[in-house]
């Protein structure tokens, strides 16, 4: 559950106020998640769960012939952080090349673990998740959607998106 390296990271960010965590941008993604809807089991390409809090995300991804994301949707249950993160992630992913997204997912996880500095890097609203780095227990909430993305992209390259079945 808790990667020791995450806790012991030297020179990690100093604690910020929890207020930073629940910014309006983040709460808006939580209240009105983009690309959210009930998925049929057949279209789910990745299914991530955190047994610690029961949070779950299921992800459907369809790639265009040029390897960009043609469609992406998620369902599941989660806290504000994980829901907002999934919303921000899916909003960004649409239309982007799979390889670029896969790299971004790795970079995002490293940023959240404070292994590399935080950069928005052109991802809209990503800054809303910067505060999470100060709360190691919530890092997993933020990264879950991005883990699912990596998994789903790998699978999508093999299996064409079937649409609602």
């Amino acid at each position: 559950m808790y990667s020791p390296s995450r806790w012991s990271a030297r020179g990690g960010p100093s604690p910020v106020d929890a207020n930073d965590l629940y910014q309006e941008v983040l709460l808006d993604h939580f209240r009105h998640p983009r690309n959210h809807g009930t998925l049929a089991d057949g279209e789910v390409l990745a299914d991530e769960e955190n047994p610690n809090c029961g949070d779950r995300i299921r992800l459907a991804v369809r790639l265009a012939p040029d390897g960009t994301v043609a469609d992406i949707r998620f369902d599941g249950r989660g806290c504000a952080i994980s829901t907002a993160s999934a919303s921000i992630m899916t909003a960004h992913a649409r239309g982007r090349p799979a390889g670029e997204l896969s790299d971004l997912a790795d970079r995002f996880s490293a940023m959240m673990r404070a292994e590399i500095p935080f950069e928005e890097g052109g991802v809209e609203d990503l800054a809303a998740l910067a505060g999470v780095r100060s709360f190691p227990l919530r890092v997993k909430c933020a990264t879950m959607a991005w883990h699912a993305l990596k998994k789903a992209l790998a699978r999508a390259a093999e299996k064409p998106f079937s649409g609602r079945s």
């Binding site: 629940y22 610690n52 249950r77 989660g78």
Partner: protein, 430 residues
């Protein structure tokens, strides 16, 4: 003494409505250094007592005193400080046995905590004697620490693991008990008090039934020791496990109290220094109980500090602590029930001040995080009781758990903060 509103309340709640003299709870509270601190600029409101309690200054001081005056290893050495350390260490073993009315120091094992105590029984007593077809009976409200060790024991021996179900009120459903016990149950392992629902289980009734069916009884007293008088004899337990850190003591200290004949049946789990009599090249004989189960250098400072925690509780009196708990629990339930959209999980009439709840449309992790910015510490998650939470249809819950040093007013702060948290998360949707 007895001038505060809560004391008046507590006296009314007390069984003997006569001239009960209550401790001065404000003064008692004053002895806990952490309770004076600010968290995120707000006075700390600590409601995570079921996870671990705060420590009074005397406990911290007692531990320091060992380090500052007689740091030495115990049992083995002939020199002044070692004798002093051993004397203090062994006095705490005896105090532990007295505190829970156990058979005695000679059958009380010092452990790191409840978890180790239970695992010692699982590995040292259950695994060597259970056979395929034997049964271990637990309940549907066990902490993982009183469930996973029995899963391991069942898997290692081919024994069967069964569970007494929990009803909608959060009490044990005993209707199928005779059938569940059957005639092959060798051990009933159950919690005295649920760490989620606060339910106090009818341990004696269950222990009598288990004994009649030929089973031994292990009681997980982790959640009860800080809230009510606990008597191993009255509960009818063969084994009783509890942790120091949940009753104002240091971390890394716990006890396994046992009936001596059960402890004699138990095999050592860990080998090493202290637990042996004679060591040959390829085999060894064991020391007497309880030392046989204490391989290696123990948490000497912690154990000695624990002595002060036992004294704190003894001086308060467990009856007074129980009355205080009852009063605070009543306030907690009232205040929480009044929060819009909040549903309390667990409605047992016989309960302590451990209150699990769900806030509508608000994830428990977000709730805890938002309360934290008001300086309030509550728990969020599966509370180390995943099967119980699933039974009530949850993957995670929030929990507020109190200790005698909490103030009734703190529940006002809690309730207000919960209302604000829900509003913050719901936003326009509300």
């Amino acid at each position: 003494m007895g001038t505060h509103r809560e004391n008046a309340d507590a006296q009314a709640a007390g069984a003997a409505a006569g001239a009960v003299r209550e401790p001065d709870w404000e003064r008692v509270r004053g002895d806990f250094p952490v309770l004076h601190r600010l968290v995120r600029g707000r006075p700390l409101v600590y409601f995570d007592n079921a996870a671990t309690t705060q420590k009074p200054a005397i406990v911290i001081r007692t531990e320091c005193e060992y380090y500052g005056t007689c740091t030495a290893n115990v049992h083995r050495a002939i020199h002044f400080m070692a004798e002093e350390a051993t004397r203090r260490y062994e006095a705490v073993r005896a105090a532990a046995a007295r505190f829970v009315d156990a058979p005695g120091a000679a059958s009380t094992v010092v452990t790191r905590g409840t978890t180790e105590a239970i695992n010692l029984v699982a590995r040292g007593w259950a695994i060597p004697r259970l056979k395929p077809g034997d049964r271990i009976l637990v309940t549907g409200m066990e902490h993982h620490s009183n469930l996973v060790p029995w899963q391991m024991a069942a898997r290692a021996t081919g024994a069967e693991l069964r569970s007494i179900p929990v009803d909608d009120a959060g009490e044990l459903d005993l209707r199928r008990l005779p059938e569940l016990l059957g005639n092959r149950t060798r051990l009933l392992a159950l919690t005295h008090v649920s760490n989620v629902l606060g339910t106090v289980n009818p341990v004696r009734q269950l222990a009598d039934a288990a004994h009649a069916a030929g089973a031994a009884v292990l009681v997980d007293a982790a959640q009860s020791v800080a809230h009510m008088p606990v008597s191993m004899a009255a509960l009818g337990a063969d084994f009783l496990a509890f942790s120091g850190h949940k009753m104002c003591g240091p971390t890394g200290v716990g006890f396994l109290c046992a009936r001596p004949e059960r402890l004699e049946e138990m095999e050592p789990v860990f080998g090493g220094g202290e637990m042996i009599a004679r060591v040959e090249e390829t085999e060894s004989t064991w020391a007497e109980i309880p030392h046989r189960f204490e391989a290696g250098t123990p948490n000497i400072a912690g154990v000695i500090g624990m002595g002060a925690a036992f004294e704190v509780f003894s001086e308060l009196g467990m009856d007074a602590v129980q009355r205080r708990d009852a009063m605070l629990t009543r306030v907690a339930l009232e205040q929480l029930a009044a929060v819009p959209g909040l549903r309390i999980v667990g409605a047992a009439p016989d309960r302590i001040g451990v209150v699990a709840f769900a806030l509508e449309d608000a994830h428990p992790h977000d709730v805890a995080q938002l309360l934290d910015r008001d300086g309030i510490a509550i728990r969020a998650g599966h509370m180390c009781a995943q099967p119980l939470l699933r039974r009530f249809g949850h993957a995670a819950l929030n929990r507020a758990s109190l200790a005698f040093y909490n103030r009734p007013e703190e529940f006002d702060v809690l309730a207000e903060s919960l209302v604000r948290a829900r509003r913050a998360l719901a936003g326009g949707r509300e």
